[in-house]
Amino acid sequence: MTEPSPIVEMQGISIAFPGVKALDNVDFRLFPGEVHTLMGENGAGKSTLIKALTGVYQIDSGSVLIGGQEQHIHGTAEAQSAGISTVYQEVNLCTNLTIGENVMLGHEVRGWSGVNWRATHRAATEALAKLGLGHLDTRRPLSSISLALQQLVAISRAMVTDSKVLILDEPTSSLDANEVDGLFQVMRGLRDQGVAILFVSHFLDQVYAISDRLTVLRNGKYEGEYLTRELDRTALISKMIGKDLEVLKSLGSNRQAEERDRTVTPLVKATGIGRAGSVEPTDLDLHRGEIVGFAGLLGSGRTELARLLYGADRPDSGEVEIEGKKTEIHTPVDGLDHHIAFSTENRRDEGIVGDLSVRENLILAVQAKRGWARPLSRRDQDAIVGKYMTALNVRPADPDRPVKNLSGGNQQKVLLGRWLATNPELLILDEPTRGIDVGAKAEIQQSVAELAEGGVAVVFISSELEEVVRLSERIVVLKDHRKIGEIVNGPDVTAQEVVDIIAAHGTEAALESDIIDPEGKD
């Protein structure tokens, strides 16, 4: 490939935040017609580099060249007019507007009498259709769709304009395989038209599937630029973390289905719990020491079922027994009182409390449980903070920094820490590894397994089906807001199989698949 000149060239970029040097003399080049992946651990500075390029942060030193000319960009609007479209790491849309408006904001189709809404919605539908969302009703409020869909809407939005550069910061973090495939197809199409794409992801498979070139950052420093085909995974990982990693190898096989005695009273037994419009009545048993995965496609109702279990939404049918005792769980407070913890998939809106420090975020749930009158002593706080910041490797290791200043992955770790600190008996994790780097992901999976061994019941939801299959002992399969079956995990169960079940459900084939009835024996 004869190298054309780069469309974006960043030289010697440095950005310091109080107490952290987020970027330290970083170089970066982006060529037209390539997919270029930015790699690095959580907090390495990927998002910061993107924000530096698009003018969200002011650069302390260094220069940005676009199309060979030095440019000073002050904000996304200017970046857009310079031909750069960006989808930032956290979904940034307006939930008060409709889906179509969100896609088209700032690019509405105008006619003689102002905005032509019909044409605008049509254009929005077209943009969405490219990602396979042509069926979405663009006149519905954005708030009515799940976070994953919102992520896709945000991506569609970036593609409405004909940009020379498309930046996608962890666009796939809550998408499942189908959507990722769709997205990649679109990305390849754009690449072939000469668009330069900057991509960030922690999924190595995806990185290798899509990217032509990699730039690796470590600790805010430039580590190197490589052609993807010339760098194998192990080498990439060691470049990212600066040493060889053994952990990945330990993530081999599925957990064995233990011969669990399912006649004992389960920790949580839900009978027919449901909520009109979101989850149809569902039965569910959760035993101590068991990891139960929820599998399903986007919008199948995994999140909503989990929310009912915790009391984040109030169930309007069915009942829940905890250790055989009938209980009512209607609010998060009820959930917490019954030793249930729920880590949400929507960390920005329902998870972190941005302006508060890491310390305060970590102790929040424990403190809420104790009530305001019994504050945690400084020593207890330090114990919790010390324990979970080390265990989850939160960086920078300064507990008094506002949590909103942490990188996305590190925020996720803080959130996990908050829930682990409550010593739950039932831990519900909705996309806990969202935006977490490879190393940390392995560690988190490890600690989930350990928790289960220690007698905690875990519900594990992830859009990465492999992860679910690898960890869970039992997999609850959902489709269209209802439970369609349960699978007891074993060495022979694969992600593909689960996908097949989902696809086949509703057709006759489903009836004879390996869905087994957990209680059928008695």
């Binding site: 809106d349 409390v353 403190q367 449980k369 019994r374």
Partner: protein, 339 residues
């Protein structure tokens, strides 16, 4: 945060300086030879700041939850009306004074609870709930006094606002005690943390198991209780409640105080120190206007000028001008060394 009320302190000092320029003896505090009390303009400022201090502290908590309490001024007048009517009906003794105080505070807190319920249970926006209370509260005060400006006489009650202990005005001492008490309760318990959490991200706080209802009701009740104390301070000083004037528009002063102290009306982190500085600044400003003899008609413009200058000083843009210059100065020699 710290830097923000730093400018409040600077502003207070500047205002005092202006007064000193007009009258060099402005700052002098002397001891009254007959009763040993401290007298002087500074003492007056402290005394005048006592009611604003009360409502500003309450307001800072409400604002931290992301709300606003427009009803404090009206609750002041209700507290005043209740206490004056009580005193008028019951006479002179110290017990009666206590009764009046108790009744006034109880009614105030009750109104606060109503605010809290409207906000947290019914789910109305704080601006509206407290706006309703602001309108209704003043009306209620008028109903209590049947529209009259009620005056009463009661020594012990009067003493609250006009008495002295060890040479210091009782109101000032009481105000300090109340502020310390609230600060202690809020900061030593987890109340402060929870209030801030709710203010920053209500959804996330709910998911983390914080019960917003009880907390909001508590905060609004506390704000109203403090407004009740402010009302008692204000009416006890003249032993008259003026149903249309007592506490009129003081909510604006309280909000100003809180913002000058560095709080964001969007909710989140709060600072008691900031609220105190803000309240003192407002009291100083009011006194300065009178002391300088600024004409009545120009008073609002003068006040506006001070607020605008202060806001400009607090803003990052203007601060950057300062720091950049300082930074430039600091960097210059270093670079010349390395180069």
């Amino acid at each position: 945060m710290r830097r923000q009320f730093f400018w409040g302190i600077i502003a207070i000092l500047l205002l005092l300086l202006v007064n000193v320029l007009k009258d060099p003896s402005f700052l002098s505090v002397s001891v009254n030879s007959t009763n040993g009390n401290l007298v002087g303009n500074l003492v007056d400022i402290l005394r005048a700041s006592a009611p604003i201090l009360m409502i500003a502290v309450g307001m800072s908590l409400v604002v931290a939850t992301g709300g606003i309490d427009l009803s404090v001024g009206s609750i002041m007048v209700v507290a005043g009306a209740v206490s004056m009517e009580f005193l008028k009906a019951n006479g002179q003794s110290g017990g009666v004074a206590l009764g009046a105080l108790g009744a006034a505070l109880a009614v105030s807190a009750l109104l606060g609870v109503v605010n809290g319920i409207l906000v947290s249970v019914v789910g109305l926006q704080p601006f509206i709930s407290t706006l309703v209370m602001m309108l209704a509260g003043r009306g209620l005060a008028k109903v209590i006094t049947s529209g009259q400006n009620t005056a009463a006489s009661n020594g012990p009650f009067r003493w609250i606002a006009n008495g002295y202990v060890i040479g210091l005005p009782v109101v000032v001492l009481l105000a300090v005690v109340v502020v310390l008490l609230v600060a202690l309760v809020v900061r030593r318990s987890a109340l402060g943390l929870m209030i801030e959490a709710i203010g920053v991200n209500p959804k996330a706080s709910r998911m983390a198991g914080i019960k917003p209802r009880g907390l909001l009701i508590t905060v609004y009740a506390l704000s109203a209780l403090l407004a009740g104390i402010a009302g008692v301070f204000a009416t006890a000083s003249v032993m008259t409640v003026d149903v249309s004037r007592t506490g009129y528009q003081l909510e604006l002063d309280a909000i100003l105080a809180v913002v000058i102290g560095g709080a964001s009306l969007a909710g989140g982190k709060f600072s008691m120190g900031g609220a105190v500085v803000g309240a003192l600044l407002i009291a100083t400003l009011d006194k300065t206007i009178v002391f300088l003899g600024v004409s009545s008609s120009a008073t609002p413009a003068f006040k506006a000028a001070v607020i605008i200058v202060l806001c400009l000083l607090q803003s990052e843009r203007v601060r950057n001008l300062f720091t950049q210059r300082r930074a430039a100065r600091a960097r210059a020699p270093k670079e010349s060394v390395t180069a």
